[in-house]
């Protein structure tokens, strides 16, 4: 359940971008399948982590990001919800991970 640590890190990082007197209405997070973060666990942990902060009662929106691989051999992209490090076009393993590792705060709505 490291999602509580992740939720606390979201609050710590996001809080620096909120001006005095502002309240956060929603926060949009992108989590890649290779990040090891479970969407439901993060949603469960966030209210606890945000208690007593400007994020309290804000809406957490978690967007899952699929794994996107670039094949160095056939130069095609493979998109997958599963973690299989293999080009699905030519079945080569010489691939570069383009997306899927991230845990990003993409945007916040404040008032």
């Amino acid at each position: 359940m490291h999602e509580l640590s992740i939720a606390k890190a979201i609050v710590d990082s996001g809080i620096q971008h909120v001006k005095q007197g502002q309240k956060v209405l929603s926060i949009h997070i992108k989590v890649g399948v290779l990040s090891g973060v479970v969407k439901e666990a993060l949603e469960f942990a966030f209210p606890e982590a945000s208690q007593g902060t400007v994020f309290e009662n804000s809406r957490l929106e978690v967007e899952k990001v699929a794994l996107v691989l670039f094949c160095k051999k056939c130069h095609k992209l493979t998109r997958s919800e599963d973690i299989v490090i293999l080009c699905q076009h030519c079945y080569d393993t010489e691939v570069e991970i383009k997306e899927g590792k991230e845990i990003l705060i993409q945007k916040m709505e404040v008032e």
């Binding site: 359940m1 490291h2 509580l4 640590s5 992740i6 890190a9 979201i10 710590d12 990082s13 996001g14 971008h17 502002q22 209405l25 997070i29 290779l34 990040s35 090891g36 973060v37 973690i83 299989v84 490090i85 293999l86 393993t93 991230e102 845990i103 990003l104 705060i105 993409q106 945007k107 916040m108 709505e109 404040v110 008032e111």
Partner: protein, 227 residues
């Protein structure tokens, strides 16, 4: 009336605003990990992060390594949620070890290692992470190499079930090879599972009990020390 939302508060300043950020949530941990990495480099320390499920044989591997590995003395930082049982075991085998008790946390993070840098005197540091196949993989510590352990008793398909940790490993050690004759464990299936999530992983198989394959682990440590 307020011009933003029509509420009764005159000249209220509560209009909604969207702030676009693209901030890495683990930026703080990664920053400390980066500092740790520089500290290791500046002090000539090779740091290895051992990760696996509980009971896969991390402590047993380090006990035998403490007794047998002659090329370099090493310090051990061992993480557990509670107790210093592992540190006590390792001290009995002659290792210089410090326990990090993480309490509610299911993983070590970079700040926990940063607090223990003064303890590290040897050229090799082995970090025994909290036994957990999910959480430790998200937190870089500043290590030079990540090593994942997978015991034969856990079955062959753990890498596919817990892909993130095995994907990130530089070395995957299959432990408890002495038990293979008593298990329905299929080495080919296990290697297939590993290579699906980490096609380039270096894999070794060993038994900390009988000593089979330990040489391959020591070879890896020697290579890490030479870099």
């Amino acid at each position: 009336m307020c011009g933003d939302c029509g509420c009764e508060v005159a000249n209220a300043d509560h209009f909604k605003q969207t702030i676009h950020l693209e901030i890495d949530v683990l930026k703080k941990n990664n920053h400390i990990a980066h500092q740790n990495h520089h500290w290791f480099h500046d002090h000539g320390v090779t740091a290895i992060n051992l990760m696996s499920s509980p009971g896969s044989g991390k402590t047993a591997l380090l006990e035998r390594t403490s007794r047998e590995f002659q090329e370099s003395a090493f310090s051990i930082l061992v993480g557990d949620q509670q107790t210093d049982n592992d540190a006590t075991r390792l001290q009995l085998s002659g290792a210089r070890v410090r326990q990090i008790t993480t309490h509610s946390s299911c993983h070590l993070d970079a700040s926990m290692i940063e607090k223990e840098l003064d303890f590290i005197k040897e050229k090799l540091l082995i970090i025994e992470n909290v036994g957990n196949l999910v959480c430790p993989s998200a937190f870089d510590l500043g290590e030079s190499k990540k090593v994942a352990l997978l015991s034969t008793t856990e079955g062959e398909d753990k890498p596919e079930k817990y892909p993130v940790l095995f994907h990130k490993a530089d070395l995957i050690i299959i432990t408890k090879s002495d038990l293979i004759p008593y298990l329905d464990w299929d080495e080919t299936k296990c290697l297939d599972s590993i290579h699906k999530v980490n096609p380039k992983a270096r894999v070794i198989k060993l038994s900390s009990k009988t000593g089979e394959g330990m040489k391959l682990w020591y070879d890896f440590l020697r290579e890490c020390l030479c870099v």
